[in-house]
């Protein structure tokens, strides 16, 4: 089956919107084909994935247990 023609603008719009979603869609197969010959889109997609991965690794502070006590006191709950 002939794949849909994809350019860098399509990649920027679609890949960016979905990253790894709809991996078997026609759009996605055409994008993968485009990536084989486009170092810019490959670098761009890789950097977007790394951006998400880096943000997933930012730690959050631990939940302050005093908040639960304050809440139960405010709501007059005996727990």
């Amino acid at each position: 089956m002939k794949l849909k023609k994809i350019d860098c603008l399509d990649v920027a719009k679609h890949v960016c919107g979905d990253l790894d979603e709809h991996i078997d869609s026609e759009e996605c197969r055409a994008i993968r084909k485009h990536l084989e010959s486009c170092p810019n889109c490959t670098a761009y997609l890789d950097s977007l994935k790394k951006t998400v991965l880096i943000y997933q690794h930012i730690p959050s502070p631990r939940f302050p247990k005093r908040s639960r006590k304050k809440l139960f006191a405010k709501l007059k709950i005996k727990a």
Partner: protein
């Protein structure tokens, strides 16, 4: 920051506990609070980027849950219902404190050309720099943490919420669309812009 924590979404809330809490059982309500307290706080912190504001949003959220629990009809996951309350509290708190630019100016990355140059053999010339392949654990130093924190604070909160829900918390586009009362294309558009914006903020650090 003294501790590192990535709370996972707890097991699906037991419908029997929810029903008990809905009928006024305080012990069941306390159980729900304990089951979800870390995930709600962590999410509020990721959106507010401030411990004090996150704690206030946490308090407001569970006060709302206590008052509105009877409205939960069990059609959606309890966590989805809970997220929509936290999101509203975070957004309200943020809008009260700051009037900010509601758009993200960046659509495409530095070095992006719709029709890229090619060399004499017809190969595309790379104009977008590749990022380092350093493992993230080795990358995570205080300089990068400050950079990440500043970058996400610059991202308008309407975009930040979508990014945190979709990419950090792993909620589906459909769930986020229901929580924020946005169309799915609007969720995708905000997510796209948020990712591109954050990428641009990190680009220099990750390519130098």
């Amino acid at each position: 920051m003294k501790t590192v924590e990535h709370p996972r979404e707890p097991e699906r809330a037991d419908p029997a506990i929810i029903r008990k809490a809905q009928s006024g059982d305080e012990r069941a309500f306390a159980q729900l609070v304990q089951q979800y307290e870390s995930i709600v706080y962590s999410f509020a912190y990721k959106v507010c980027r401030d411990k004090e504001k996150a704690e206030e949003a946490w308090q407001d959220t569970f006060v709302n849950v206590f008052r509105k629990l009877k409205q939960f009809d069990g059609k959606s996951k309890f966590s989805t219902w809970l997220y929509s309350i936290v999101v509203n509290n975070c957004l309200m708190r943020h809008r009260r404190s700051k009037l900010e630019l509601a758009t993200v100016p960046i659509d495409f990355p530095d070095g992006f050309h719709e029709h890229p140059d090619t060399d004499s053999e017809g190969h595309v010339v790379q104009t977008i720099a590749s990022w380092k392949d350093t493992p993230i654990d080795s990358l995570m130093n205080s300089e990068l943490r400050t950079l990440l924190n500043n970058a996400i604070k610059k991202l308008p909160v309407d975009y930040r919420v979508v990014f945190v829900l979709r990419d950090i918390e792993g909620q589906s586009a459909e769930e986020v669309s229901r929580m924020l009362k946005l169309s799915i294309p609007a969720v995708k558009s905000r997510l796209r812009r948020a990712r591109v914006f954050l990428r641009e903020q990190l680009n220099e650090y990750m390519t130098s």
